[in-house]
Structures are given as C-alpha cells and as structure tokens.
C-alpha cells in the first residue's frame, strides 16, 4: 500500500507537494494510517490493554496472586463443573487464582521486555554506529565480535550468564541485554555504511565538523526509524526469552509471579489441570502477537523500505 502512495505523490508537481506538506503533521499521518490498518489497530489495542494490566494489576486483580488457599486447589475454569465466577480461569496447585496471577505476571514481562530492549538498543546502536562510521580496523574488529556472539545460540549464552549471575530481576535484564544488542549493531552498522557516503555528510566534513557531531546529528537521525521498529519487535522477542528463562527456573526469584514460571507449574500438572498451562501461554502469545502487529505497522509507517 505504501508503494502506491509513493507513486501517486511522485506524479504530482513539486509545488503541490510543498503546499500539501504542512497540512498534516507526522503524528496525525501515523494515526490516519493506523485507522486504515486493522491489524495495526488490533495490535495497538492489545498492547494498551497489557500495559494497563501491568500498571493497574493491584487494582484489577480480584485476589492476592500469591495467597495460598489449600482448600481451593485445582479449581477448574468457570464453564467446567466445579468452577466459579470468583476464580473464572481456575486455580493452581496451591489454590492461587490464575487470572490474578496472569495480571501480575504481565508486570515482569512488560518491564523486563521494555528495559532490556532499551539497554541492548543503546549498546547495539553505539557499537553499530562506531563500527560503521569509523570503518577499517575498528569495523573488522567489531564485526568479528558480532560474528562470535552470533555463533552462540541465544538461549545457550543466556543459560551460561544466568548460571553464573544467579536469578534476580537485574541479572535477568543483564542476561537479555548481553544477548540482545547484536541485532541492533548489525542493522545500524549496515545503515550507517549506506548513509555515510551521501553528499550532506561529505559537506559536513568539508566545513570541518567533528566526527562525533556528524555521527550524532546527521547519521543517528537517519537510522532512528529502523531502531524504533527493531526495538518494538525486540520487546516481543525478549518477552518470549524472559518467559523461557523463567520457565527454566532462571528468571527472577521464585516468589515473583511470571508467566514462564506459571507455565512450569502447568507442565507439572498437565495430566490433571490443563488450564494451568493453557492460560499463561495464551497470555504470552496474545501479548507478543499484539507487539508484532504494532511493530509491523510501525515499519510500514516509518520505514517502508525495511520489509522482510
């Protein structure tokens, strides 16, 4: 769809283009495109819902997510025999309310996903910028570093780091940052290489601007669009990674409610209580799906060139 728009505008006279431009701001344009993209809209609704769930979990959750009620163990969902509206998604092996735990679990997913995406973004963008901008020896050195990190499967490296650091929120973010920066570095390096030879960069060099100033004020804005899209999609990947590590018992400490640890409990009791493993998994899938939809939509809006 983006392509059709480009062709039609290309046919218009330059004057009409200039006249048209100030009428719609970038934000308004993005919103207009969002209305036209049902998938993006669904994604946005999901993401907003998950963020609200994470922030207002204490107010929204009907029960205390960690309170043990041994008399109410393994209650099935409301539509099954023995289920009740008070615990509409059922309870787990310790009588804890699944719905309340899903609401609270979103906190860790959202926080860890966003925080480690931002941290790995900062590190990856800096390394990619330096590699692409300085080129030569610096570039070949940094590229070998990237190659090496790519040779280790993400989860294997994460296991090793988590094994040394032990569980904990901060350690989890460190693990996901150590493994997550590589994608950013590769993409940014490639884009910098493409932008670097353009005339206006040459012009900035000619008038004697310093390297870091050129990198920050002329090159960085050009890679911003891809970085925003990458960060969004990286939040999705990170949420899956966080849940995997929590599932394996390597996430935050065992008292904190996470979707991954709920799934680990669900795996234990799969033969008798299917709901324990089903609903947390659905929560992850729907959340990740929403973020991917938003990411794809952002890519169409910000950076139509960057299709898969």
């Amino acid at each position: 769809m983006a392509q059709t728009t480009t062709t039609t505008t290309a046919l218009k006279s330059p004057e009409s283009l200039i006249r048209e431009r100030p009428r719609v701001g970038r934000f308004a344009l993005a919103m207009r495109r969002l209305r036209r993209s049902p998938v993006g809209l669904i994604g946005a609704v999901i993401v907003v819902a998950v963020v609200i769930a994470a922030i207002f979990a204490p107010a929204l959750a009907p029960h205390n997510p960690t309170r043990l009620q041994l008399g109410r163990r393994f209650l099935p969902p409301v539509w099954m025999e023995g289920g009740s509206w008070a615990y509409w998604l059922g309870t787990d092996q310790l009588g804890r309310d699944i719905w309340s735990r899903i609401l609270y679990g979103s906190q860790i997913s959202v926080f860890v996903g966003v925080a480690s995406s931002i941290f790995s973004g900062i590190i990856g963008v800096l390394i990619g910028l330096v590699a692409g901008f300085y080129g030569k020896l610096v570039d070949s050195f940094l590229s070998r570093v990237v190659d090496t990190f790519l040779a280790i499967p993400f989860i294997v490296l994460a296991l090793a780091v988590a094994g040394v650091l032990g569980p904990g929120l901060l350690n989890l973010i460190i693990v996901l940052t150590v493994t997550g920066w590589v994608t950013y570095a590769r993409v940014v390096r490639g884009e910098v290489l493409a932008v670097k030879e353009r005339d206006y960069i040459m012009a900035a060099r000619v008038i004697g601007q310093q390297n870091w100033k050129i990198a920050l004020s002329h090159i960085l804005p050009n890679v911003a669009a891809s970085v925003i899209v990458l960060t969004t999609l990286n939040v999705a990947t990170t949420i899956i990674a966080e849940s995997s590590l929590s599932f394996l018992g390597l996430g935050v400490d065992s008292r904190t409610v996470t979707w991954g640890s709920m799934l680990a409990d669900g795996r234990e009791h799969i033969a008798t209580s299917w709901w324990m493993a089903t609903f947390p998994g659905l929560a992850i899938t729907i959340t990740v799906l929403g973020i991917i939809f938003v990411g794809d939509w952002l890519r169409d809006v910000l950076d139509p060139k960057m299709k898969e």
């Binding site: 090496t148 040779a151 490296l157 296991l159 040394v164 995997s244 799969i270 992850i284 899938t285």
Partner: protein, 304 residues
C-alpha cells in the same frame, strides 16, 4: 574447493578465539569465581586453598591463557558434580541432541516445502491465507508452550504418545514436532517469498510459453533457484534450532546436551557449562560450513 575450505577454516580461527574470550569472560562476570567452588560456610583457609588450586590468584591474562590452552586440548576441566572431565560428558550427549534437531529439521522441511510452494503458486488462495495466518501466530507462540499443548493433545487427551522420556521412536514424535513446527513457520515464509520472486523471472515465462505443465515447470526450473536463497537464510536458523532444543529437551526430559547444560546451570557446574557453550557454537559453525558447501549441489554456477 580445497582452497575455499581452507579459507573458511582459517576464518573460523578469530571467531574461535572470540568464543574462548566470551566463555572465559562469562565466568568472570561476578569477579573472582572461587566462591562458586566452595561451600557457603567455608573458612578463609579453605577459600584460599581453592583459589590457589584453580589458579584464580594469578593475573587475569595468565588465567585466560591457561584456559585457552586447555580448550585447544579439548580440556575444560573437571565437572564439579560428576567428578570427571567435562568435555566427554558433553560429547556423550551430542548424538541425542542431533537426533532431535535433525528430525525437527525433517519435520520442518516436510511441512514448509509443500505449504510454501502451494502458497506461492496459488497466491491469496485459502491455503495461502491459512498458512500465512498460522505462521504469524507461530511467530508469537513460545516454542515450549506449543510443546506443552502437544502433550495435552496427543498424550493426555488422545493417549497416542508418551509424555516424555526416551526409548523408541514414539518418544521422538512430539519433541521433534514441537521444534520442527517453530522452524516450519519461518521456512514457509522464506520459501513462499523466494518462489514468488523466481516465478516472475523471464526463463520461467519462456518455459511456460513452450507449453510446459505447471508442476514440471516448478520442479525442473523454479525449485532449485528458489532453494538457493532459502538455504542462505536457513543457515542462520541453525542457531535458533539448537537453542530451541535446550528448552524442548527440558520440556520432554530428552537426555541431550541442552538438558545436561541446564542441570549444570542449576548446580553451578562451570566446567560443563563452558564445554556445552563451546560445543554448541562449534556445531553451529560446522553446520553453516556444510550449508555453504551444499550450494555447489544446488547451483552448478557456484564454484569454489
């Protein structure tokens, strides 16, 4: 060909060196690793003794060189838990992991090749839209959760297959289906887009103009060219496959390398963790090399 292989092997050297640095560095993330080798209530003398025994009192560079020399000999030290060298322990588990990943690979290709081809040739048909929809959902689903849902369906509800463990081929079905489906979603998308590109080429139009039937056209002319670009991207997915195997092995109690590493992580068995990371990375590098060499089979124009 010989030259090419030699060059590729030489290119692996810096990556291998980098690998040893990362593996060494990870174990030093918390500074002095001595405390990972002693009991919590150890006396200062005991701690010092352990520190000297493992050489943690030497300069960092010296420690690294000793470690790297060990790696060259395939020696990662002794496993804390098993009281035997770590490397053989890891190598022992490699066949189980390879069995799992190769059968997953087979599942992935068996599903993705027909689906991808039909989706491309019948663009926007019901099959195409269904396949695209499923692959979007597959992208969002954690792999291990899919595995748990398969257990629910095939073992608990239908009672067809065992929940976990090893023994006969029936134990392999759900794990390889779980791991393979995750890969199949990506692979289907790759094959579809590559095929769409290939069938717009002029030689395909020519072949069609001379009256060749559609399936002969696909298999005799289009498929090979379509697969070349698929295989390139596919090499990058091998790492994902091996990483995914770690979790799938844990879900299904499959006795592979991943499960061993995970147990090593739980017991802080550093030597096994290090050997495991090294072997996984080495496997990925070797498989990628094989993928690159296999180009010559697909495309006679490529000569090394």
């Amino acid at each position: 060909m010989g030259h090419y292989l030699l060059r590729r092997l030489l290119q692996m050297i810096p990556v291998l060196i980098g690998l040893t640095i990362i593996i060494f560095g990870v174990t030093r993330l918390r500074g002095d690793p001595t405390y990972q080798f002693v009991q919590a209530d150890a006396s200062q003398e005991e701690i010092d003794a352990v520190r000297r025994a493992y050489g943690f009192d030497r300069p960092l560079l010296e420690q690294y060189l000793v470690f790297a020399a060990g790696v060259l000999r395939g020696d990662f030290g002794e496993s804390f838990r098993f009281r035997q060298p770590a490397m053989p322990l890891v190598l022992e588990r490699v066949p189980a992991t390879l069995t799992l990943t190769l059968s997953a690979l087979l599942v992935a290709w068996l599903i993705a090749l027909p689906t991808g081809l039909i989706s491309a040739l019948r663009q926007n048909s019901a099959i195409d839209l269904t396949a695209t929809g499923i692959s979007v959902i597959g992208r969002a689903m954690p792999n291990y959760w899919m595995g748990i849902m398969f257990i629910l369906l095939f073992s608990v509800q239908l009672g067809w297959l065992p929940v976990s463990g090893t023994g006969d081929w029936r134990n392999l079905v759900i794990p390889s289906l779980t791991l393979g489906l995750g890969l199949a979603t990506t692979l289907t998308r790759l094959i579809r887009s590559s095929m769409l590109e290939v069938i717009r080429q002029e030689y395909i139009t020519t072949a069609r103009a001379k009256g060749l039937g559609e399936w002969a056209l696909v298999f005799r002319h289009a498929l090979r060219n379509c697969l070349i670009s698929v295989v390139t991207v596919f090499g990058l997915q091998i790492g994902w496959l091996l990483g995914g195997a770690v979790i799938v092995e844990q879900v299904f109690a499959w006795p592979g390398m991943g499960r061993l590493m995970l147990q090593a992580v739980y017991t802080r068995d550093l030597a096994v963790i290090q050997a495991g990371v090294f072997v996984s990375a080495l496997l990925i590098m070797v498989i990628n090399l094989i993928v690159d060499v296999s180009y010559t089979l697909l495309d006679p124009r490529i000569r090394y």
